[in-house]
Symmetry: C2
Subunit: 342 residues, 2 copies
């Protein structure tokens, strides 16, 4: 029945342009560790919170993209791994580990509908349920296999390749017998792609004055699948380098999210010449595949055939910087916030 501290990361200002740390605030509230009488809610202790690019849209006042947005002076929210402290719902009990949509705070009292899945496999790092075993993992799986329809031997290009999703797309492509090249924004990330994540090639897009020439160098015969994470100039350079009947699963366009005027893409007529399918998707349409995905990926993790690079910061007070860093490329691998300091 104790009232305890409940630290939160709240939205202070609606974001315009690039998010700044000062758009968020750390506040210390309190919470009673008890579910109200008769409630079917769940009380969660949040363990890991996920920093994801789509959250930028929820930080704006008017997104015009069909999402809701965060409320000023209320905590941010997103995917996270939590432990059930008390449950008013029969599906959950104290001690259960779950992942789903939770708030950026130490404890959250939420509707159980916010929980996406109960965590069954605990021989892997729990933080993985914000990444490889969570939303980004499912995103990579659905986007690459369901929309990309890869065939052994095909040529795959991944942008933001060391990110939460990209690093998995590359590894899934290699497991599928494809040739895969990734782009990223630093030498460190390029080294990671080539030496740890098993990409055939990787390049630093910031050091390529001519992206078209870079793509021609790595794909002299063209690209079959472009896994789109960034949009803008990269997409424009990719389009003329696509092969006949190429596929472009559109997962994100992170380079464009903070621009008041997005960059114009001029080479779309190549969609016709090359009969390209370009398809946007959102992972929530694919969670029915999650059990199948776990069957596929958990053994790969256990056998070391797929690795996952995380960038974990400790403490909610480092949340705002972690969020901002997503858009400057500061993170190396999946950006996670560990709520409970280790």
């Amino acid at each position: 029945m104790a009232e305890v501290r409940n630290k939160q990361v709240v939205l202070k200002n609606y974001v315009v342009g690039f998010p700044k740390e000062s758009d968020m605030d750390i506040v210390e509230g309190t919470i009673t560790l008890k579910i109200p009488e008769g409630s079917s809610d769940v009380l969660l202790k949040n363990l890991y919170l996920s920093c994801d690019p789509y959250m930028r849209f929820l930080m704006a006042k008017n997104t015009n993209v069909g999402f809701g947005n965060y409320t000023l002076n209320s905590p941010l929210a997103g995917n996270g791994v939590s432990q059930v402290v008390e449950s008013g719902h029969p599906d959950y009990k104290e001690g259960d580990l779950v992942w789903g949509f939770t708030n950026w705070e130490e404890y959250s009292l939420l509707s159980s509908a916010q929980i996406r899945f109960k965590i069954e496999h605990t021989d892997v790092p729990l933080s993985y349920y914000t990444g490889i075993l969570g939303m980004p993992g499912m995103t990579a799986y659905a986007g690459f296999f369901e929309l990309g329809s890869p065939i052994k031997g095909e040529k795959v290009f991944v942008s933001a390749a060391s990110g939460a999703v990209g690093q998995l797309v590359g590894q899934f492509a290699k497991l599928n017998g494809c040739y895969v090249v990734g782009s990223a924004g630093s030498k460190e990330k390029v080294d990671l792609l080539k030496n740890k994540l098993g990409f055939d090639e990787a390049f630093n897009y910031k050091e390529e004055p001519d992206l078209n020439a870079a793509l021609k160098r790595y794909f002299p015969e063209g690209i079959d699948i472009y896994f789109e994470n960034v949009g803008g100039k990269t997409l424009d350079a990719v389009l003329p380098n696509m092969r006949l009947h190429g596929r472009i699963p559109v997962c994100g366009m992170i380079s464009q999210y903070n621009l008041t005027q997005p960059e114009g893409v001029t080479n779309l007529a190549h969609l016709i010449f090359k009969r390209i399918k370009m398809e946007g998707f959102i992972v929530t349409d694919f969670y029915h595949l999650y059990p199948k995905f776990l069957e596929f990926v958990v053994p790969l993790i256990r056998e070391g055939k797929v690795v996952y690079v995380e960038d974990i910061v400790e403490g909610l007070e480092n949340g705002p910087a972690a969020m901002v860093g997503l858009f400057t490329g500061r993170n190396v691998g999946k950006q996670v916030i560990s709520v409970v300091c280790e």
Copy 2:
């Protein structure tokens, strides 16, 4: 065995920017109306020639889009309706009516592989085999039904809606129980769409200072299928107005073909938010459906349930102006050249 006049439309200069009449020339050659001994070629008398936007690419020196190009001082080539004068190939005989890829001249000696189909139904205007019963008809059918996957009651937007393909997409959409709105570039075309072609609504895009507002007016609940013929600003205005799981079959982007620097499309992130599938296609991938298409469309023509608006100019000497007019919107309906003056 007589040698006869063979008037031709030849390419005089590789086209840069908008094509001009002076990029083409009318020349009078001669041809012997006899197939060389032992040849399996066919000698065709060309009746109708089709003016199509894709031909613009073949008029450029270096298209970089994987098509070939026309040879200077040789005739243009494209789809046409012809009659066999003499055949060295057992599949064809004198008098057969055929359609396929032929030259812009009075008589053509060609490989029989250039013929796409023998014409079986002659109770409809022969010129229709350059339009509703030819490449544009098959394009509308494949793009709308195969890529668009229309469902009764869905909302369909067609650009270049009175053109060779657009007018059919609109009519197919109505037959399929969809709501359909078209855009075109003159009052005359808008009237045609509403009064003759059965579109629910139509507007003149040149008189809409705000295309986004125009689309919101006609599609307050958004667009399920956008049949893309024009690209550029129109596409950019359409993207935020698409509905969830919308489809954009990309047939053409005629507004962009003559620009040295195509317009930038800035709203592609909506592909993600709305889970949109945008897919380029070329009709040659769908000719296996031609017999099925004829079974569908010939009865509709006979019963008057589908109409087709043609813009027929007489004589090869009017070919260059007809070709140029495609890109200024001069034509009303499918642009055809009648080779033999009626």
